[in-house]
């Protein structure tokens, strides 16, 4: 394995390291700046791994977290997220139930 001694000018100090990591760059370390930029570069658009299984788990577990007697409103089946979040996002479910589909003693006509 070729192990080369480091050149003197590569002994960066702690303050420079802090600046590099705060995305402010640092003069004298262009390749290090390039490396950090490459590491943080956004992914090219492509399908996200694991989204299906995570959504299945979300559908299974999250409704249970909604308090009883309340339901979420303002949800959308597609497109952007709900903009209705905030106070009033949870609305109480109606207290008085509607008429039964088949009143007692009445035979359905269909």
């Amino acid at each position: 394995m070729p192990h080369r001694p480091a050149p003197r000018n590569s002994r960066l100090d702690a303050a420079t390291a802090d600046r590099l990591l705060s995305a402010a760059g640092a003069p004298g370390y262009p390749r290090l700046v390039q490396l950090l930029a490459a590491a943080a570069a956004p992914d090219s658009p492509r399908p996200l791994h694991g989204v299906e299984s995570v959504i299945v788990a979300y559908r299974r577990d999250i409704p249970a977290a909604i308090p009883a007697g309340a339901k979420a409103v303002g949800t959308r089946s597609a497109g952007g997220a709900s903009q209705d979040a905030g106070p009033g996002f949870l609305t109480p479910r109606a207290e008085t139930p509607g008429p039964p589909l088949n009143p007692p003693g009445q035979i359905p006509t269909r």
Binding site: S10, L12, I62, A72, G79, D84, A85
Partner: protein, 181 residues
């Protein structure tokens, strides 16, 4: 996440808004996978799935801003990664950073190539991944996850000063490799 406001998105996701949850997932998952692939290779996708299960189960208990949320997700990921590595009886692979550099970087005398050279994300991550694991983790949390020192310290369970030292050592090592003759 910034367009709608993280607080609104989190509230909606907590209350069953699937699109809001997907918005959070889309924002966090790429960086999470990138960090996990660097630190635990082919286990990354399983660990990421475990992480999101933990996020979903704890979502209604979480309270904080976006940076705290990211730190919380990465904390869960860290615990799940350690669990998986233990369960599989694996240690993080050790790679010689100079071998990675020899294989991936152009030599100084290859002037024309070096002038046009733009480092790829994969090369950058392979070099970071060849650092000692604690240094690699701290640098990835700062650079890929975008966490500050305080949140990084919380994720790795170390003091902020220790995080700074680890990051400094890791970057110094990378600088030595990159500036090699």
């Amino acid at each position: 996440m910034e367009r709608l406001g993280f607080a609104s998105l989190l509230t909606a996701a907590r209350n069953g808004d699937e699109q809001a949850f997907l918005g959070i997932f889309r924002s966090v998952q790429p960086g999470l996978l990138r960090l996990l692939r660097t630190l635990c290779g082919d286990l990354a996708e399983d660990v990421a799935s475990d992480t999101w299960l933990g996020v979903i189960q704890g979502l209604h208990r979480f309270d904080g801003d976006e940076l705290s949320f990211r730190a919380w997700v990465y904390s869960i990921a860290r615990a799940r990664r350690i669990d998986r590595l233990r369960a599989e009886g694996r240690r993080p692979p050790t790679v010689d950073i100079y071998e990675v550099a020899e294989a991936e970087l152009p030599h100084r005398d290859e002037v024309a190539e070096a002038v046009d050279y733009r480092m790829s994300t994969d090369t950058a991550l392979r070099l970071i991944g060849a650092l000692p694991p604690d240094q690699a983790e701290v640098i990835l949390l700062r650079v890929v996850a975008g966490l500050d020192v305080a949140h990084t310290a919380r994720v790795v369970g170390k003091r902020p000063g220790t995080v700074r030292v680890l990051a400094h050592r890791g970057l110094r090592r990378l600088a030595e490799v990159l500036e090699r003759p």
